[in-house]
Assembly symmetry: C2
Homo-oligomer: 205 residues x 2
């Protein structure tokens, strides 16, 4: 069976990555990578669907074994993106979408070099500022911090395969969708796989 | 100004390449590469649109200067795909579509290494046979010749970036269209170009 493809989406906060990813999941037959967390499930949240809810000990174990692509602590709870889970989904032939920051994306390159990297850019610096403000950044100081974090993310653009500018959400989601459709018909780098296709046409000639 | 992209489409005869290319030209803002010929224009044909109508002497001159990607003689008339014409269109920032056989495509790689190569496959060997027959191949002998030419074309699949299976024309044209849209948002290999984008977001921070 053909292995699934891993699509990695990054972009500065406020760029509208989440909205684009949700469109892709809805329209393009992709699986979201499910994260692990040590926090308690909220009402309605399902284990294995919203998150894998695990203990602090389990989390530490996985972290010590370098089993996370990225992890973070938020208000005393831990969150992590598990490698193994992604590999399982890919092995089952399904394509996976991973919304991850540039640091995490660089880690992905190490364990899945064939992953496809998509960067989402804001239409301009001014619009980036406006969107970060609209998210409710109160002080000039915290706006500066968020902006410089955003610029730092953007400086990794050269590590990505594709760059989608999110000015209009419909257009940006269509472009990201086109990337996914195109990658699904890419000719494999694996010469054996290509030869198997050619042989199918030669047989019995 | 950004240079245009060159999309090269190949595939065995009878695969429906022409129909796909016409959809792309109609829907995706691409220019067809115009060929040169020594034959006289038919009624309604326009110089520079359907063909460049040139003399035998002009044709020889261009051929001697290796100015054709490919050329062929059909019923005493010469046909050729001129490099210079394609380069002019690309320089003007327009994307070009080139419908060419695998030998010609290999030549394209030499003069435009960044070209994007798309191969159109029939859904099966049986369907390929059926389509070649439907084109009015009379004898078992000429069917064999055409089939083996088709198989020879397919054996070059590994030199292509993408492979679209033409089972349903709408689906195949949509996939080819997605390839074009995706390539238009590909991150440039040119580090300077990428840095120029990043600098736009940094300015005045």
């Amino acid at each position: 069976m053909e292995k699934g493809r891993l699509f990695v989406v990054s972009g500065p906060s406020g760029v509208g990555k989440g909205a684009i990813c949700h469109r892709l999941i809805k329209d393009r037959d992709l699986r979201f990578s499910v994260s692990m967390t040590t926090r308690k499930p909220r009402e309605g949240e399902k284990h294995g669907e919203d998150y894998y809810f695990i203990s602090h000990e389990e989390f530490q174990e996985i972290r010590n074994a370098n089993g996370f692509l990225e992890h973070a602590e938020v208000y005393g709870n831990f969150y992590g993106t598990p490698c193994l889970e992604i590999q399982k989904t890919l092995s089952s032939g399904k394509d996976v979408l991973l919304d991850i920051d540039t640091q995490g994306a660089l880690n992905v390159k190490k364990f899945c070099s064939e992953a496809i990297f998509i960067f989402i850019l804001p239409p301009s610096k001014e619009e980036l500022k406006r969107r970060i403000k609209a998210r409710g950044t109160e002080t000039e100081e915290s706006l500066k911090t968020r902006l410089s974090a955003a610029i730092n993310e953007i400086s990794f653009l050269g590590n990505y395969d594709y760059c989608v500018v999110n000015d209009d959400l419909d257009i940006a989601a269509a472009q990201a969708g086109a990337i996914i459709e195109a990658e699904r018909v890419r000719v494999s780098d694996d010469a054996e796989e290509v030869n198997a296709i050619i042989e199918k046409y030669k047989e019995g000639m």
